[in-house]
């Protein structure tokens, strides 16, 4: 079973590596996004978004929904880390028992 999984993984990796070479080159003029989307963003972003910076216009106006969830993901990640770090039970040593039973208040 493990051998089968290894062979499958090897085949998938080989296919991935061989198919990557058929991807279009970065910055190719004949590529589909460079034909329509990028020129229209560059030419229209100032009158559409009112921002002279194209990057700001794209990430907050055209792609605002994406940035909203980026902010949400970051807030949730920070909140989770704070909850884990300030909780009393994760990753701490247990409290030491009092050695003398007469000094401890609870005696069973």
């Amino acid at each position: 079973m493990r051998g089968l999984v290894a062979v499958l993984l090897a085949v998938i990796t080989g296919m991935f590596c061989s198919f990557v070479t058929y991807l279009p080159e970065i910055g190719d003029v004949n590529n589909a996004p460079n034909q329509h989307v990028t020129p229209s963003y560059i030419s229209r972003s100032v009158e559409d978004t009112g921002s002279p910076n194209v990057v700001t216009g794209v990430i907050i106006d055209y792609r605002g929904f994406d940035t909203m969830w980026e902010t949400g993901v970051m807030f949730l990640a920070g909140l989770t880390t704070v909850l884990l770090l300030t909780s009393n039970k994760v990753g701490r040593r247990p409290e030491e028992e009092p050695e003398d039973p007469e000094e401890g208040e609870v005696i069973k």
Binding site: V46, E47, D48, T49, G50, S51, P52, N53, V55, T56, G57, I59, I60, D61, G64, F65, T67, M68, T71, G72, M74, F75, A77, G78, L79, T81, V82, L85, T86, R92
Partner: protein, 149 residues
């Protein structure tokens, strides 16, 4: 770390550094539309200002956000962003369609610029308070263990 660890040298040096980083953070926030920058970078710079002043002066620092306030404000920052989306939705447009902001300005791209600025304030608040939160919780953990005095 209720008391800071700054001596006279550190206090004098950070008295120069802290206002510079805060002013630069506000500049990056306000000029994010015109130059490279924006909410995320401005939040990081403002958080650096708060954390440096807290490290030097301890809890007595003037420019300080501490305790549960920072957690609440991080949520408020995220809420501001989503709230702009809901405002445009109730104004008759789609979610985050800035043509339908309640503030009427002519020409229309001025409304877009206003919405972008409000959103960047929200992003800045979220990033700044998240960084302060992380530092706060680590410091608190060290205080409770007694390993860092």
């Amino acid at each position: 770390m209720r008391q800071g660890f700054g001596g006279i040298v550190l206090s004098t040096a950070f008295r120069l550094l802290v206002p510079f980083s805060i002013v630069y953070g506000v500049y990056i926030l306000c000029f994010g539309e015109y130059s490279p920058g924006g909410g995320f970078q401005a939040g990081a710079l403002l958080a650096v200002g708060v954390l440096l002043s807290r490290m030097i002066l301890g809890e007595d620092a003037k420019f300080n956000v501490s305790g549960k306030n920072s957690v609440v404000l991080a949520g408020v920052g995220t809420f501001i962003y989503t709230f702009v989306g809901w405002v445009t939705l109730f104004g008759g447009g789609k979610f985050l369609e800035y043509d339908f902001m309640p503030i009427v300005m002519e020409p229309k791209h001025e409304m877009h610029a206003m919405a972008i600025f409000i959103i960047e304030i929200g992003v800045t608040m979220c990033v700044m308070m998240t960084i302060i939160n992380l530092m706060d919780s680590i410091i608190k953990r060290g205080d409770d263990d007694g390993s860092i005095e």
